[in-house]
């Protein structure tokens, strides 16, 4: 992948994270947005876990957070003298960790969704 594309996605993921985090925080903690204490009750958690738009939003959130975080980490690492000449290896390792974490997040989100009767 060209660096420019990686960085563009990094910036877009950052902007996306900002919006999704705002939505997430306002939903869970701001009463005026329909959240508040009730939002943390198990029934409310389950309702969200079974709502298709919420599941999709959380998976996008997960992907954006992982991409943003791990691409940033990869850029930090390849500037260190020890990894400077090992760009491909660092990119590969960091990508694998990111993908594994995404699959894990995908599994837990979908498991809850499917077990709860969502579909």
């Amino acid at each position: 992948m060209r660096e420019g594309l990686g960085w563009t996605l990094h910036l877009l993921a950052g902007a996306f994270l900002f919006i999704l985090l705002l939505a997430h925080v306002s939903q869970l903690h701001l009463i005026s947005f329909g959240g508040g204490e009730q939002a943390l009750e198990w029934s409310a958690v389950l309702t969200r876990a079974l709502s298709r738009p919420q599941v999709i939003a959380y998976l996008v959130f997960l992907a954006a957070a992982l991409y943003h975080g791990f691409f940033g980490l990869r850029n930090l690492l390849i500037e260190l003298p020890v990894f400077r000449r090992r760009v491909a290896a660092v990119t590969f390792t960091v990508s694998i960790i990111g993908i594994v974490l995404f699959v894990y997040g995908l599994y837990t989100t979908l498991a809850l969704y499917l077990q709860g009767g969502g579909a």
Partner: protein, 288 residues
């Protein structure tokens, strides 16, 4: 050394001395240099030392008029062109003269510039027009460019390749593989030139690890440049170009680059009313 030189017409030069392979470690040597005329420069001071006090001192220079970029060095921790900096600029009268950081030292104040020019060459610092190869290889006429198109890159063409920006760059200090501000600035110099059609070729070189995106926008390059070039701005321009290419937005009419056309063949009477050239007054040299 006293806090202030005693004689206002004498300058104290504390000069970095080191010859790798011969000296164990660098040292500083102190010389007293008289002010020979009010506008005397740091370079003239160093030449005075070389000619009168210590011929073993190594210092590089050529044009002595801020054009060739050979005499870049550091005085009191600041990057300067020695030929373009007057001794009067140092009212304390004390100068600590060092070679540019971020470069290997050849001897004393002379640094090795191979890598700097290698990075410069990598970004293809010349007009590329793959669509007009014949004209580029055997030029017949000029490319037409408007003054406002020239403005787009003019300041970047003032670069004299002194290397000071690279010496000041904190990213080069930590990542020697980084292309550096001068090479990256040169990309904008040519990509923004309406006569050039080589944007994709240069982006291929710089849109890579240790390239464009390793610039953290410290701005030290712009701060130190003795010619008023703004490499930090140039790099931002190229980052924008890279994003446009990554998203294929460069094909939109708003961002598409229009190549300057080749000038039409001159008409015999392009500007009527111009009198014919006068007869030669000097005989033509005989063909050898």
């Amino acid at each position: 050394m006293s806090a202030r030189k005693k004689d206002p017409n004498t300058y104290i030069f504390k000069v970095f001395r080191y010859q790798p392979g011969k000296d164990e470690k660098p040292r500083f040597q102190t010389y007293e240099v008289p002010l020979l005329h009010p506008g005397m420069t740091v370079l003239e001071g160093l030449i005075y030392i070389k000619e009168n006090l210590d011929p073993t001192l190594a210092v590089r220079y050529s044009c002595r008029m801020a054009v060739c970029g050979s005499c870049a060095l550091y005085v009191n921790g600041k990057g300067i062109l020695a030929c373009h900096t007057a001794l009067r600029e140092f009212p304390s009268g004390k100068l600590t003269v060092e070679p540019m950081p971020n470069y290997p030292v050849v001897k004393d104040l002379m640094t090795r510039m191979d890598e700097f020019f290698d990075h410069h060459r990598q970004v293809k610092p010349y007009l590329l027009r793959p669509q007009d190869r014949a004209e580029i290889e055997n030029p017949t006429r000029e490319f037409l460019q408007l003054p406002e198109q020239l403005e787009e890159f003019l300041q970047f063409s003032y670069c004299i390749k002194c290397g000071l920006c690279v010496s000041a760059c904190p990213t080069v200090a930590t990542d020697p593989d980084f292309l550096g501000p001068q090479a990256l600035m040169t990309v904008a110099r040519y990509n923004r030139d309406s006569r050039d059609g080589g944007t994709v070729y240069r982006l291929k070189v710089v849109d890579a690890p240790h390239g464009l995106w390793n610039c953290h926008f410290a701005g030290a390059c712009t701060e130190v440049c003795p010619k008023g070039v703004d490499p930090a701005l140039a790099i931002q321009y190229t980052k924008r170009e890279s994003v446009l290419h990554a998203l294929h937005l460069n094909k939109l009419p708003r961002f598409r680059k229009k190549l300057a056309p080749v000038a039409p063949p001159p008409k015999p009477n392009r500007r009527p009313g111009i009198p014919p050239a006068p007869e030669r007054t000097v005989p033509e040299a005989p063909a050898s």
